[in-house]
């Protein structure tokens, strides 16, 4: 069973600008993979290379074993795609858009069933050009669902949707995944990814900087903690003593007598014991745990 997506050393350069830089990635069948990054990080270029809208400068990409460039039509036969920067066909209604998708994928049936799934049945016979942004996004999502694709590729799927629309789309994504579809979707919003993805890849300046499960990332995020300790009798020797505790990364003595200690979770108590040993009275103690958001920010800013 080949992986749903295999990306080997993919690079895309535009002149001197490198949009995607030597990306390697494998997505197993049945996974929901979230692709996280700021606007302009190279997510859409990656997806466009999967669709053969953009040709990689070097490297190769495969979908279910089919080369995305040499065998593009075969690769796209198994995909359902919600691309970025699409336009709808002028003069065609929503129903006719779905019909086009069904004819393109050799699917018989009632187009209304697909519009029903995304909740825009009542607009079926209106020209799609007159749809609102959210309705258009739902219609194209419905087009992507046509033919029970083995791989759903969704580029910023919730953009233009209101919160309720975004939630119902997430539910549909989950249903599709339960049916057996692999899902590959990009977003610049962490919550979107957190809510549905099994695994996350963080893309930054064309590079894939981290790939892990949500759990793994969260563990990484929460393994560090920040202690804010208020005291009344602090001296430099104590600060030095705290710094030497195993697992402490960083100690800052702030102007208002507070001690800010960044350390791993397990040594919180050691820090407090050290203070006690030096007869420091702890007046107040708060802890700050970095969220996934902080981790994301750290991953996407540190290389700048």
């Amino acid at each position: 069973m080949p992986p749903a997506i295999e990306i080997h050393d993919a690079t895309k350069r535009y002149g001197s600008f490198t949009a995607v830089d030597r990306v390697n990635l494998e997505v197993e069948q049945g996974e929901v993979f979230g692709f996280l990054g700021h606007n302009g990080a190279g997510k859409s270029t990656m997806i466009n290379m999967l669709l053969d809208h953009v040709r990689p400068t070097t490297g190769n990409l495969k979908v279910f074993g089919a080369d995305c460039q040499k065998n593009s039509v075969r690769a796209r036969k198994r995909m359902g795609v919600l691309p970025d920067g699409y336009g709808v066909y002028s003069g065609l209604t929503g129903r006719q858009h779905i019909q086009f998708a069904m004819e393109s994928k050799d699917v018989d049936g009632d187009p209304l069933a697909f519009l029903d799934r995304v909740g825009i049945t009542e607009a079926a016979d209106r020209a799609a050009e007159e749809y609102s942004k959210g309705m258009t996004q739902r219609m194209v999502f419905a087009m992507a669902l046509v033919g029970e694709p083995d791989l759903l590729v969704l580029d910023e799927p919730t953009s233009g949707l209101d919160p309720a629309g975004a939630r119902s789309m997430r539910e549909t994504i989950r249903e599709e995944n339960e049916r057996g579809a692999t899902v590959f979707f990009s977003s610049h919003i962490l919550e979107q990814i957190e809510a549905v993805a099994d695994r996350v890849g963080i893309m930054h300046q064309g590079k894939l900087t981290a790939v892990d499960t949500i759990g793994g990332l969260r563990e990484m995020a929460s393994s560090e903690t920040k202690l804010l300790i208020s005291t009344n009798n602090l001296c430099d020797s104590v600060v030095n003593a705290v710094e030497t505790v195993d697992g402490v990364e960083n100690v800052v003595h702030t102007d208002d007598g507070q001690l800010a200690v960044t350390c791993t979770k397990q040594v919180k108590i050691d820090v407090l014991l050290t203070l006690d040993k030096h007869n420091v009275t702890v007046l107040d103690l708060t802890t700050e745990e970095p969220s996934l958001e902080d981790l994301f920010v750290e991953y996407t800013w540190r290389s700048e």
Partner: protein, 275 residues
């Protein structure tokens, strides 16, 4: 159903569904009908030959315009608006796009021209004229071929360019060069060749061939051969006295070449580019 026919079908639906599409198609049909209505008022016992000589001037202008306008946005317009992104998210190849667009728009153009010409022929035939099936079909076939050649040029331009502005400028340039300027170049060509000592008072046959290889000149040659053989309008190119390569038959083939060559060139370039 093949992939390109899906594209063709959607294209036709879109063309017929849009107001500008409907207006353009209607206008072309009307011009042909109106010519058929006018000819019997000036000629007794009109034939297709009379219809041809009456309509020739406007057809030489209108059909290339119709073909180019139908074609020049076909691919680049879709690219600029992101529709190409949507279409190519489905299992269609770049060839499907070009073929589908050509077939869809070609059918639209052929249908419009056929309806107009057949309607015009009916108005000629009834009540006093006489239309032979042979000349009618020759006229229809030649005119459709002529329209398809400019459609193919338009689609090629739309596949070669990456912005609508580029495509518009080039289309305007092609229209001006082929339709307006080219047929008037005979004098310049003769002077140039005389200067080079390659001609003496009349264009040599090979020069007539080269100059006449442009679509609207070819179209005229085809009409002069099969529809209006008694009207010698394009000089040395005509008549069975001329060399074989200046006859109507090779002109038909060359006109067909103007359909195939631009389409293939456009496709080859389109296949190479990112969207």
């Amino acid at each position: 159903m093949t992939r390109w026919s899906t594209i063709a079908q959607k294209d036709i639906r879109g063309l017929v569904g849009s107001r500008t599409g409907k207006t353009g198609i209607g206008l072309v049909v009307l011009v042909f009908l109106f010519s058929g209505y006018l000819v019997p008022t000036t000629t007794s016992n009109p034939t297709m030959t009379d219809y041809d000589s009456f309509a020739r001037g406007i057809v030489l202008f209108l059909v290339p315009l119709f073909g180019l306008l139908l074609g020049y946005r076909a691919v680049v317009g879709e690219r600029a608006t992101g529709r190409l992104t949507l279409t190519l998210s489905f299992p269609h190849s770049r060839a499907d796009i070009v073929i589908g667009k050509f077939v869809g728009r070609g059918l639209t153009l052929s249908t419009a021209l056929s309806v107009g010409i057949l309607g015009g022929a009916v108005l000629i035939e009834y009540p006093f004229g006489s239309v032979t099936v042979e000349t009618l079909l020759s006229y229809l076939f030649a005119t459709v071929l002529f329209g398809l050649a400019f459609l193919a040029i338009g689609i090629a331009l739309s596949a070669l360019t990456t912005s609508l502005r580029q495509a518009t400028v080039l289309t305007f340039g092609v229209f001006f060069l082929f339709v307006v300027a080219w047929p008037q170049l005979t004098g310049f060509l003769l002077q140039g060749l005389e200067y080079l000592n390659l001609a003496n008072n009349t264009l040599p046959d090979w020069a007539v061939f080269v100059h006449g290889a442009e679509p609207s000149m070819l179209y005229q040659r085809v009409l002069d051969s099969y529809v209006s053989p008694n009207k010698l309008t394009s000089g040395a190119a005509l008549g069975s006295v001329g060399p074989w390569y200046l006859q109507g038959g090779p002109a038909v083939l060359l006109l067909a070449g103007w359909i195939i060559t631009p389409t293939v060139t456009g496709y080859l370039q389109f296949r190479r580019t990112d969207i």
